[in-house]
């Protein structure tokens, strides 16, 4: 099947409840996908019922989920992770923070981008200047200062020193900022912007890439599946006996436009699973409820954690390199609430942890035809069937 690319959402929705939701039941899907493979002509677009597709709105979670189910969100706030700077030699460079390294908050893994701006796709931008350990980068925050000019004296630029360059990719560096603590956060929030996307109508502001429950700023790109969730909906789900729990997962860059580097994504990412979430998962299991992760980053935290503890979810933090995909059989998570992604993208392959590719292709074609929107601010898909059998 040749899949048409999904129309990207060019701007965040003002009203999250307008988000469309496609429910895909992998159980129903498996049965019909087998039939479709045998008789492709028999499955025409629109015969959604046969394939277990339900075309609705995000608010339908009220009925698609049921008492005893558990929704697990990634509560990481989104950092302004994109810094424009200059090298010692005066060459312009964009640095995107990828993930914090070590304790203290001053040192980060980061990716370098060459000249150009958010209007260009990253793959169309020239490579960054070659930089080595010991070189200093200077980021001038003046450009992002308030327009009224009312506040404050001009700060000195934020500075960082490159501590190492990845052996596999000259774009991937480690750096340490010259300041720490509150002063670093202040400088970072002044100098940096959220990572931008070529498909948005205008540059995104920091508040447009935050979920309704964003807490610690660990994510360098928004855990975007959660952008569709309003408190109106979340509180209503709770009233209906659907539990909501959290993990914090340091979502990294979705892509750099550099094929070799992108093939290595995601890099190791930090996560934290609180004790109350471990208890909530156990309670859901005990009562036959289903565990639904909001976004692939919540999956990575839960499944990465379980894999570090012989299949058991254990409270605490860690890092994970877990790659979702057809080979990853979930041990904790039964289903996923996700954006709608094009076949061939890495994100699409991640969903193969939850449903067979033939069914995902059909779901994509169905959503595309119905006018679903893709990317960070687009529509949603719930891949969820019946609960796993107790192991």
């Amino acid at each position: 099947m040749q899949a048409a690319a999904m129309q990207p959402a060019a701007w965040p929705r003002r009203d999250a409840s307008a988000t469309r939701l496609l429910h895909v039941d992998p159980g129903a899907g498996r049965r019909t996908a087998r039939a479709a493979l045998r008789h492709p002509a028999a499955v025409t677009p629109g015969s959604s019922r046969r394939r277990g597709f339900v075309d609705g709105r995000i608010g339908d979670l009220r009925v698609l989920l049921r008492e005893g189910d558990l929704l697990v969100v990634n509560d990481a706030a989104t950092l302004p992770a994109s810094l424009r700077g200059v090298t010692d030699e005066g060459a312009a460079v964009e640095v995107r923070l990828v993930g914090r390294e070590g304790e203290g908050g001053g040192c980060w893994r980061a990716a370098l981008f060459g000249a150009g701006d958010w209007r260009q796709r990253t793959e169309d931008r020239p490579p960054p200047p070659a930089l080595g350990a010991g070189e200093e980068l200077r980021f001038d925050g003046a450009a992002t200062r308030g327009e009224d000019g009312r506040r404050g004296r001009p700060d000195g630029p934020l500075r960082a020193t490159i501590t190492s360059v990845d052996v596999g990719s000259p774009r991937l560096i480690s750096l340490c900022f010259a300041t720490r603590g509150a002063a670093l956060w202040r400088a970072l929030y002044r100098a940096a912007r959220p990572v931008q996307y070529a498909h948005t109508a205008r540059p995104l502001a920091l508040w447009q890439v935050q979920t309704a429950y964003a807490a610690r700023p660990w994510a360098v790109e928004a855990p975007s599946a959660g952008l569709a969730l309003s408190w109106e909906l979340l509180l209503d789900l709770r009233r209906r006996g659907i539990a909501i729990a959290r993990v914090t997962h340091a979502a990294g860059l979705s892509s750099t436009g550099d094929g070799e580097l992108d093939a290595r994504l995601p890099l190791a990412e930090r996560y934290e699973v609180p004790e109350e979430t471990v208890r909530a998962v156990a309670a859901a299991r005990r009562h036959g409820g289903r565990v639904v992760a909001v976004g692939t980053t919540a999956v990575r935290a839960l499944e990465g954690n379980a894999r570090s503890h012989r299949g058991r979810l254990v409270a605490g933090g860690g890092t994970t390199k877990l790659r979702l995909g057809p080979a990853m059989r979930p041990r904790v998570v039964d289903g996923i609430l996700t954006g709608v992604h094009d076949p061939g993208t890495s994100h699409f392959a991640l969903l193969e942890s939850f449903a067979p590719p033939a069914l995902l292709l059909e779901a994509h074609a169905f959503a595309s035809e119905r006018g679903y929107l893709g990317h960070e601010f687009g529509d949603a898909m719930l891949i969820l069937g019946e609960p796993r059998k107790a192991e």
Binding site: A77, A182, Y189, L206, W207, Y213, R216, P217
Partner: protein, 241 residues
């Protein structure tokens, strides 16, 4: 609620009631994110708390500026972790010397509303989300008797505080039963720089010391029996309730 080890964010923490509350809560073991515009004064408050063995971080920001809200929330969460108590204490008095509404510039009223109403709304929006997820949290709005009585020349300030009171009540009504609580406090007349700016010829002996009011406010924060959405008066508060 035992404040020991809890993350608390206080706006307007560089002087007056905010600074006194910071010192009081720090002594009780709270972990503090302190917000104010004045860098030097704020740094001094935070440094004094740290020197006394407490934990305090100085976040220099303007709560009235839209683009500074997520930077405040992000820095506070990074430095302190979970913010369990949010105290909206920062206030803008409006035109000084105090002016009749007829002589108040529209921009002055807008600035008062930005700092005293819209800023707290935005900051609560940014911090109540994670509180709701955890099903616990407390948001305190510092009000004024100018919110209920129409004092000549206090129009901009009074209108903003009346709006703040109503905002607090509505937050409480909407999120009742969620585990996140709200209350407002009228601290009464205190011997602070703001009071001196408003009433330069006041008899300071008649004014409460911010430390005394901070002590009462700390007791209120620790008292889980205060009804959600209540508006309290510090002058009428006795610890042995």
């Amino acid at each position: 609620m035992d404040i020991q080890g809890r993350g608390v964010l206080i706006t307007g923490a560089s002087r007056g009631l905010g600074a006194a509350l910071a010192r009081t809560l720090a002594r009780q073991g709270a972990r503090l994110a302190l917000v104010a515009r004045g860098e030097q004064a704020l740094d001094e408050v935070a440094a004094a708390i740290r020197a006394a063995g407490g934990e305090a971080h100085a976040i220099v920001a303007d709560v009235g500026a839209k683009e500074e809200v997520y930077p405040i929330a992000g820095a506070a969460a990074s430095l302190v972790g979970e913010i369990e108590v949010l105290v909206h204490n920062a206030s803008d008095l409006g035109p000084v010397p105090l002016a009749l509404l007829a002589d108040t510039a529209c921009e002055e009223l807008e600035r008062v509303l930005a700092v005293n109403v819209v800023g707290p709304f935005r900051l609560t929006k940014a911090l109540a989300g994670p509180m709701l997820l955890r099903q616990r949290g407390l948001v305190v709005h510092v009000s004024s008797d100018a919110a209920t009585a129409a004092y000549p020349r206090w129009g901009a300030y009074g209108a903003s505080k009346a709006a703040l009171d109503h905002l607090a009540r509505t937050w409480a009504a909407e999120l009742d039963g969620s585990g996140v609580r709200f209350f407002g406090v009228d601290p009464g007349e205190m011997d602070t720089a703001m009071h001196a700016a408003a009433v330069p010829d006041a008899d300071r002996r008649t004014l409460a010391r911010p430390e005394e009011v901070a002590c009462k406010l700390a007791q209120m924060i620790g008292d889980d029996s205060i009804p959600n959405g209540a508006r309290l008066e510090a002058a009428a508060w006795t610890a042995a309730r």
